[in-house]
């Protein structure tokens, strides 16, 4: 008899503990259960599907507060490199209503559809957006990359 009570109580106690822990975890992590963040993929099709763009930091990793060079690679749908594209860059932080702290520019064409984008700087943590307006012989299109720091 005594042992059954003990098991029952232990089970009850463990259940209560588990409920308690879950409650604490839930309370301490309010961001859980909210919609997932922006799409941070580094490679994607442009808005109207004219290009496939990929955007990578030249140094591999993103460093907050540093002036950085990134590489934008543009291919057609068929996978051919896009040469001679005119690229205009803008962006900002959608949650803070402000633009970029610098004016990044495409400064060089490196071949194979790859463009050097200089002057990229993320001064604070959070959600950043970079808009690329791309104009090439195939036509004009835009692509937006999200960077979350």
């Amino acid at each position: 008899m005594a042992s059954i009570w003990r098991y029952l109580l232990a089970g009850l106690g463990l259940t209560a503990l588990l409920a308690g822990i879950l409650a604490v975890v839930y309370l301490m992590a309010p961001q859980w259960g909210q919609p997932t963040g922006p799409d941070v993929s580094r490679s994607k099709a442009s808005e109207n599907g004219l290009f496939v763009a990929s955007f990578q930091p030249e140094a591999g990793a993103v460093r907050q507060g540093e002036l950085e060079t990134w590489l934008l690679t543009l291919k057609t749908k068929a996978g051919a490199p896009v040469e001679g594209a005119a690229i205009a860059i803008s962006g900002g932080m959608p949650q803070h209503d402000h633009g970029l702290p610098t004016s990044p520019q495409a400064t060089d064409y490196l071949g194979e559809g790859q463009y050097r984008i200089e002057g990229v700087k993320f001064t604070m943590s959070g959600w950043w957006q970079l808009h690329f307006a791309i104009s090439a012989t195939a036509g004009s299109d835009t692509v937006v990359f999200n960077v979350v720091l």
């Binding site: 503990l17 604490v24 992590a29 002036l67 002057g119 001064t123 604070m124």
Partner: protein, 403 residues
């Protein structure tokens, strides 16, 4: 009956211990660590100033920094406003040199790490910055020809050991500058291009020596830094380093609900950028539009990074090449100041608008709209207790760390 009661008590104690002890989540700990001075990288070489790390240049710069003769009337030096025993600032709402300026003197700890100088970033290197007050009629009010003559007469040998031979100044007028009074401007115009270049080169080297000295002025560890290291390593803080519950609350607000860390980030508590935060103008001062008006000034500066007076190659000029030139966000935008030592140096903001940290916190909580342009600050619901906690936390950035 006794057993369930005991078990319930055990569960309660476990839960309470879970709630009461770890005040910082892993994400918060990561943010706190990012603010610690131990996270400050080594000072980078300034390739635009090849004398930046030369001890003799720093020594000459130090002499010049404190030299009252580096002014029109022999009464003002860099150290008049950048006081060595006051964090290299002057406690005044607006700096007073030969006359009263329209801006608050900035402290100098870590200044060599800034990409932009002055509250509005109208200079892009520490050495170009150092030249500006020398000729500002409200600050040192001198002129570059007079400075060149003075350097030759007073420090000629020291100068030449560092920078090489001084130019022949015998045919250079005693007073001449493109920025001086009418007579000085006329004298400058009458000089040949080679003469102007010779004077500009000596003048630029004065700035490079002063910058070499200023590179040694670095932030010192505070109680916060000790706390941050203990928090991240899990070490038990010594009693004198432990934060009070109020200071902990303030730190959590700073990196959380109050959003301070959005701009005041990294080990220097600044993003080195410019923001309109709705700080009101001062009534009797001339109109001040902040960063938007500084863009043209830094582009026109004959000593900027793209000028002939830069050492090294133009790859160091990224900040200038890729600066934002025209955007609504630049209107009445001012540099995010470091908060290290801020509690000990009221008044606050670019023209000393607020006399206490309580006023600063109240300003950010209220988030009044800007008189021009758009403030980036949004209203915050902070209780009196929360405001006091933020101020208590800011004070931990002023207290020296225990030995």
């Amino acid at each position: 009956m006794r057993r369930p009661a005991r078990l319930l008590a055990l569960v309660a104690v476990t839960l309470l211990a879970g709630c009461g002890k770890p005040q910082f989540s892993d994400a918060e700990k990561k943010t706190v660590a990012s603010l610690a001075l131990s996270n400050l990288p080594a000072l980078k070489t300034d390739t635009t100033n090849r004398f930046a790390d030369l001890p003799a240049a720093a020594a000459l710069g130090s002499t010049l920094f404190f030299d009252l003769s580096m002014s029109r009337d022999g009464t003002v030096s860099c150290s008049t406003c950048h006081k060595i025993d006051r964090q290299f600032q002057d406690d005044l709402p607006q700096a007073v040199g030969v006359g009263r300026t329209n801006r608050r003197t900035m402290p100098l700890a870590g200044v060599a790490r800034d990409p932009w100088f002055f509250w509005d970033g109208r200079r892009d290197s520490l050495w170009a910055q150092a030249l500006t007050p020398l000729e500002n009629p409200l600050e040192q009010a001198g002129n570059r020809a007079a400075y060149a003559h003075y350097i030759k007469a007073r420090f000629g040998e020291r100068y030449e050991r560092i920078f090489g031979p001084l130019p022949d100044l015998s045919s250079i007028p005693a007073n001449a500058s493109p920025l001086g009074n009418d007579a000085e401007q006329a004298a400058w115009k009458a000089m040949s291009g080679a003469q102007r270049d010779a004077v500009n080169r000596v003048f630029a080297n004065i700035g490079k020596a002063i910058a070499a000295f200023e590179r040694s002025i670095e932030p010192q560890p505070t109680r916060f830094d000790r706390f941050a290291v203990d928090l991240v390593t899990g070490a038990k803080p010594r009693p004198e380093d432990a934060f009070s519950p109020q200071e902990i609350q303030g730190l959590k607000l700073f990196i959380g609900k109050a959003n301070c860390v959005t701009c005041h980030n990294g080990p220097r508590f600044t993003d080195n950028s410019f923001h309109n935060t709705g700080v009101p103008p001062v009534k009797d001062l001339p109109p001040d539009r902040g960063r938007i008006d500084a863009v043209a000034q830094v582009e026109a500066d004959p000593f900027n990074c793209l000028s002939a007076y830069r050492d090294g190659d133009a790859s160091a000029c990224g900040e200038l090449r890729f600066m934002v030139r025209d955007a609504p966000q630049l209107v009445r935008a001012y540099k995010t100041p470091s908060l290290r030592g801020a509690a000990d140096r009221p008044p606050y903001m670019h023209a000393g608008q607020f006399s206490s940290l309580d006023e600063v916190v109240a300003h950010y909580a209220k988030a009044s709209p800007s008189v021009e342009g758009v403030s980036e600050v949004h209203p915050l619901d902070l209780s009196d207790r929360e405001r006091a906690a933020l101020v208590a936390f800011l004070k931990t950035l002023s207290e020296q760390a225990g030995q």
